[in-house]
């Protein structure tokens, strides 16, 4: 029997080992080695995560060091694990979704030349993500945080010959670095003021600093913890794609679909949510930070949802949906409902991975055409994909009894109960978001799975020119067909938790004592969870009660509108499109974030760099100082050279003058 410590160690190391072997051997090994090794690795770490989960269920938590990373004076940086309810939950979610995605990839990347490389990357991702969630200190958290960013960079740019892919991956990395910039400063604040980067120590020392202030700008006294929390949250905004650092996520859809499911929906993008939940003992001490978190989340939840309505690329619809749902989780964090955020993180991981993998299945069925305007009626041809996608969509919009309902409804209730400033706006945003979510989700669902088979009417030459060879699409006389079992099995396995996990786990996760030890809530200042528990009378009662509540009515009307607009009367959206040109333009420009960033930050940095170089280095330093000095020396030596003319009478003259001068000087004395 292995000790638990070696099991903890094996969980991240198995995928790392598989990634290293497959990545380094690459073409030296037959193709099937790639998926066998990596699936064995991640399946092993899933099985061990289940063991750890059951162990934690028994109440066995762990906080210990693996090795000392470095020592400088009295500061020790360590690599270590904190295994508790929070990390055990994340480990289970990460390894399960990763396993599903590994299996699915066998089908999705079947024909790709980079098959081995892809498996190596996703296993490396699993390792990085596990290091992030299992960490017991800020240094290792930052390591995992940036390592998942690296893999995201590699995978978004997986098809490295596509200009759009290599633009998107650079953008993703840099925008994330902007977040990490704040995150690192936040970590610096933690180390300076709390003297440690170890979670337990920091959380223990934080309350004593609740009233401390720092004066970063002279004569301005800011709350130390507010500033620390906000800096840390900047990191979360980058990784979890909150406005205005959300711009990288829609573009990340350039990556292959399996990683959109794994990295850009289920796991990596939720790292920010996880981090804030982990830091609840810090955030609870600052109402300003919590309010900011809530408002940013609310803006993301609503305004990114709007953008989902006008997208025609199937993956981008799901991407904006992810942004919006991440906003929901962030709102929950701001309302001090950390466990609700974690709960939504978990249910979302299942149904959003399902929706993405379903979208991938549709894309394969459509021969890599991603435009939902070309689809329609696929339910006839792809039964499993259709049904599982329906389950995913229903879960996403919060249909009672499905997983998404429990988590999303709890968020809405929590915000309603919150008294922080900004909670009024947040409540409106999350409510309105319910309608928007239902509308764009079922717009996509109806356009893809029902109605006319629109690819049959396409003139193929009309959409061929801007597409790459992979995007050929279906010919008018072709039928889409269902995918092999490696693709549909993960869909089914993800559909099960999408249906049931909310019903089964809401009681222990939100109102039981599952997170009681790991999430700290200042009950007096933020009694949201307390009131929520008072209103909770069991999962079934909650769902039945919801049938008559406002969110459900909003969701239903969203679905109805989508059906009306896109199934029955397509002239309505066309008319709206005509009438509201400026509004549509704003949405199509994605509120102008991209063009602003491109023109102001990217072009501005290049302009500034060019000016500094040409003016500072080339003109002033080299031109005036260096070459100027050289010219001055040249000039002086020219003068001196003229003195050495070689003519005797010049020298004689100079001597005579000199003698006279010296005599004059001496005579004076």
């Amino acid at each position: 029997m292995m000790s638990m410590q070696s099991i903890y160690l094996l969980i991240p190391l198995l995928p790392l080992l598989a990634a290293a072997i497959v990545g380094l051997a690459n073409h030296a090994l037959p193709r099937w080695y790639a998926h066998v090794l990596t699936i064995a690795g991640v399946a092993g770490s899933f099985a061990l995560s289940v063991m750890v989960f059951l162990d934690v269920l028994q109440g066995h938590t762990y906080n210990g060091t693996v090795y000392t990373w470095l020592v400088s004076g009295n500061i020790n940086f360590e690599v270590g694990f904190l295994i508790d309810q929070l990390s055990a939950t994340m480990m289970l979610v990460v390894t399960f979704v990763s396993l599903m995605v590994h299996i699915y990839t066998i089908g999705y990347m079947h024909e790709d030349a980079g098959y081995r490389r892809f498996f190596s990357y996703i296993s490396l991702f699993t390792f990085s993500m596990l290091m992030l969630v299992m960490s017991n200190n800020f240094m290792q958290l930052f390591f995992g945080w940036e390592a998942v960013g690296l893999v995201s960079y590699l995978l978004i740019g997986f098809w490295f010959t596509r200009p759009s892919a290599i633009y998107a991956n650079l953008k993703a990395f840099l925008v994330n670095r902007v977040g990490d910039f704040g995150f690192l400063l936040g970590i610096g604040m933690v180390l300076y003021f709390m003297g440690s980067l170890d979670y337990a120590t920091v959380f223990e020392r934080a309350p004593a600093l609740a009233d401390s202030t720092v004066s970063v700008i002279p004569h301005q006294h800011w709350s130390l913890l507010t500033m620390t929390c906000l800096l840390l949250f900047v990191g979360a905004m980058g990784k979890s794609a909150q406005v205005p650092l959300h711009v990288w996520l829609p573009d990340s859809m350039e990556g292959p679909t399996p990683i959109s499911a794994l990295i850009h929906a289920a796991t990596m993008v939720t790292a920010g949510i996880f981090m804030v939940a982990r830091m609840s003992p810090l955030f609870e001490l600052s109402d300003v930070a919590l309010s900011t978190v809530m408002v940013i989340g609310a803006i993301t939840a609503l305004f990114m949802g709007f953008l989902g309505i006008i997208q025609n690329d199937i993956k981008r619809v799901v991407a904006y949906s992810t942004l919006s749902q991440l906003g929901y989780m962030t709102v929950a964090l701001g309302a001090s409902a950390y466990s609700v955020a974690m709960f939504h993180l978990m249910t979302h991981a299942f149904f959003k991975a399902l929706l993405f993998l379903g979208a991938g299945s549709v894309i394969m069925g459509m021969h890599h055409d991603q435009d939902i305007r070309h689809m329609g009626g696929l339910s006839k041809y792809m039964k499993i994909t259709w049904l599982t996608s329906l389950i995913g969509s229903l879960a996403l919009i919060g249909t009672p009894f499905l997983s998404g309902f429990y988590s999303k409804d709890s968020i809405i209730e929590a915000v309603k109960l919150s008294h922080l400033s900004g909670s009024g706006f947040a409540y409106f945003a999350v409510l309105a978001g319910v309608f928007v979510t239902a509308f764009y989700s079922f717009r996509m669902y109806f356009l893809v799975f029902h109605g006319k088979e629109r690819w049959r009417d396409l003139h193929h030459d009309a959409h061929g020119h801007d597409d790459h060879d992979e995007h050929h699409g279906l010919a008018p006389d072709q039928n889409p067909h269902e995918q092999p079992w490696v693709v549909t099995l993960p869909l089914v396995l993800l559909a099960i938790p999408s249906l049931a996990i909310g019903y089964l786990t809401i009681q222990p996760m939100l109102f039981g004592d599952w997170f009681a030890q790991v999430i700290y809530i200042n009950q007096e200042a933020h009694p949201v969870m307390h009131h929520l528990a008072e209103d909770f009378h069991g999962a079934s009662a909650m769902a039945i009660h919801a049938l008559t509540s406002l969110p459900f009515i909003l969701a239903l009307s969203g679905v109805f509108c989508a059906w009306l607009f896109y199934m029955q009367m397509p002239q309505i959206p066309a008319a709206i499109h005509q009438r509201c040109r400026p509004l549509v333009a704003i949405l199509e420009n994605k509120y102008g974030f991209d063009s602003f960033n491109e023109k102001f930050f990217a072009a501005g940095s290049r302009l500034l760099g060019g000016k500094l170089w040409q003016t500072g280095d080339v003109t002033v330093i080299d031109g005036w100082l260096v070459n100027g000095t050289a010219r001055l020396v040249g000039l002086l030596s020219g003068v001196v050279r003229r003195l050495q003319s070689g003519l005797i009478y010049h020298y004689a003259f100079a001597m005579i003058i000199g003698v006279f001068l010296l005599l004059t000087l001496f005579m004076k004395v």
Partner: protein, 495 residues
């Protein structure tokens, strides 16, 4: 074992090996010259290894000391010794020399013996700089190492090599002369050229400022600090790959090391008084130079500017006067040695094949050189300070240390997270990714075994130090602690 004069061996083995290589004569015996150079560099590395294995990690003073009279009339000694600051840099030097010999193996076809000899001799002289405890001995090594460097750039360099060499020469000469004046002044104060005597002699504030500035002129040029940095991009662009590697990996560290050995401990009160200036210049290097790097079209220039920006962390770390900062700066120097070597060698790999350093002449290299691209992306990520690589450690430590002095120092230093990634990865994007547009790129052959070996060694080091940086801080931290204790004591004369 311990009785052997290890430091003398570390200095003279590569120099004698270099002379032996020279004796092979002209290019008819080039093959022999190569093998002797390789054997010499391996032996020279081997003799430095006991410096690590035999090092007393708990002792803050000088170890492996050797001393003989050299010029008794002026009290000049051949006095060697090392502490935790010198040892990592000496090992870096002897190690890098092996890489340079292998990297130039078949690439250098003309005057092979002289090329190899120049690097071996330079290696010995630079180790001399790191281990000299006598000011004149130090000065001799410091000046002497420039000669092979000038020759390397002047003989095997690019078309504009004469301008670059003269610029390099003038910059360094000015600084060196001022340093010599400082030494002579200190000699008149102490009647000694012993560095440890200089550490003890009380000096009035104006004198300390003058001495500090004289040293500053010498060392700031070498590091180089803004605004005396413009020789470096030109020197790199014209230097052959090996020259760039030594320049970036080691020569710049001579400046950083010398701040710790001379300028700061000899004039501690001046160092404290001038902290504002030093930190300002360091932060300008970090931010301004990073922006300049962003717009470079020449890969070597870009990496040269990147070097200056990264060295800004070294001087920043020194002048924070806390242990995390000083250890972080040392870490940054060692890591930069690996990463800048790797980056310049990567450019060398491309230059050897295509004979262009312009970013615009590439694009889509990964399609034909997948192995090379994998290494290049790794090193680029290390250059951008990715955790798990050595490039992260020093920057992380210095940024955390800077925040303890002033939030805005850390704020400006941390911009490297964004700009460092921007200039490095933008270059990677334009060189390695995308479709192939140039015919010469389509003809590229992936790494040969020799190149693969070098890349692999550097990759292991970059990741190794990133995962377990304790190997470096174990050496430096006791020394840096002693250094900071010394720095905390005023040397102003007591009236």
């Amino acid at each position: 074992m311990t009785d052997l004069p290890i430091l003398s061996l570390a200095i003279w083995v590569p120099i004698l090996a270099g002379i032996l290589v020279l004796l092979t004569g002209d290019d008819r015996r080039a093959e022999l010259a190569r093998w002797i150079a390789l054997a010499g560099s391996l032996l020279a590395f081997a003799v430095t290894v006991p410096l690590y294995t035999g090092f007393d990690f708990a002792y803050a003073g000088f170890q492996f000391e050797e001393g003989w009279n050299w010029i008794p009339a002026f009290n000049i000694h051949y006095h060697l010794g090392v502490d935790g600051f010198a040892v990592p840099l000496i090992l870096l030097t002897s190690f890098t020399t092996i890489l340079v010999v292998i990297a130039g193996w078949e690439v250098i076809e003309k005057r092979v013996a002289q090329y190899m000899a120049a690097f071996l001799i330079m290696s010995g002289l630079m180790i001399g700089v790191f281990s000299a405890l006598d000011a004149i001995l130090y000065y001799v090594f410091w000046e002497a190492m420039l000669i092979p460097m000038f020759l390397v750039i002047g003989i095997w360099g690019g078309p504009n090599r004469v301008y670059a060499t003269i610029k390099f020469f003038l910059y360094t000469l000015l600084g060196s002369l001022l340093m010599l004046v400082a030494f002579i002044y200190l000699f008149y104060q102490t009647n000694s050229f012993e560095i440890s005597d200089y550490y003890r002699v009380p000096l009035a504030m104006p004198v300390q400022i003058a001495i500090f500035m004289a040293f500053f002129a010498a060392f700031a040029v070498k590091i180089p600090m803004w605004p005396v940095h413009t020789w470096l991009p030109d020197a790199h662009v014209e230097a052959p790959t090996g020259g760039s590697v030594v320049l970036a990996a080691i020569a710049l560290k001579l400046g950083g090391y010398s701040f710790l050995r001379f300028a700061m401990p000899i004039a501690p009160d001046a160092a404290h008084a001038l902290t504002g200036m030093m930190i300002t210049l360091s932060l300008i290097a970090v931010v301004y130079i990073a922006l300049v790097a962003l717009v470079q079209q020449d890969m070597k220039k870009l990496i040269a500017y990147s070097s200056i920006s990264h060295m800004g962390f070294v001087t920043l770390g020194f002048f924070l006067f806390n242990q995390l900062g000083v250890d972080g700066a040392m870490m940054q120097m060692v890591s930069h040695g690996f990463i800048s070597s790797a980056m310049f060698l990567s450019v060398g790999v491309l230059y050897d094949r295509v004979h262009s350093r312009q970013i615009a002449d590439y694009g889509g290299v990964v399609n034909h050189m997948p192995k090379f691209a994998a290494f290049a992306v790794l090193f680029a990520m290390a250059n951008a300070g990715l955790p798990g690589t050595s490039g992260f450690v020093g920057e992380f430590m210095v940024i955390l240390a800077a925040l303890q002095q002033n939030f805005w120092y850390a704020f400006l230093a941390a911009t490297t997270l964004i700009f460092g990634a921007a200039y490095t990865l933008w270059m990677v994007k334009r060189v390695f990714f995308g479709a192939v547009v140039h015919k010469h790129v389509a003809k590229l052959q992936d790494l040969n075994q020799r190149e693969l070996l070098i890349m692999l060694i550097l990759a292991v080091l970059v990741i190794g130090v990133g995962v377990y940086p304790k190997v470096i801080t174990d050496i430096t931290q006791v020394t840096s602690q002693g250094f900071l204790e010394h720095m905390a004591q005023s040397k102003l004369p007591v009236n």
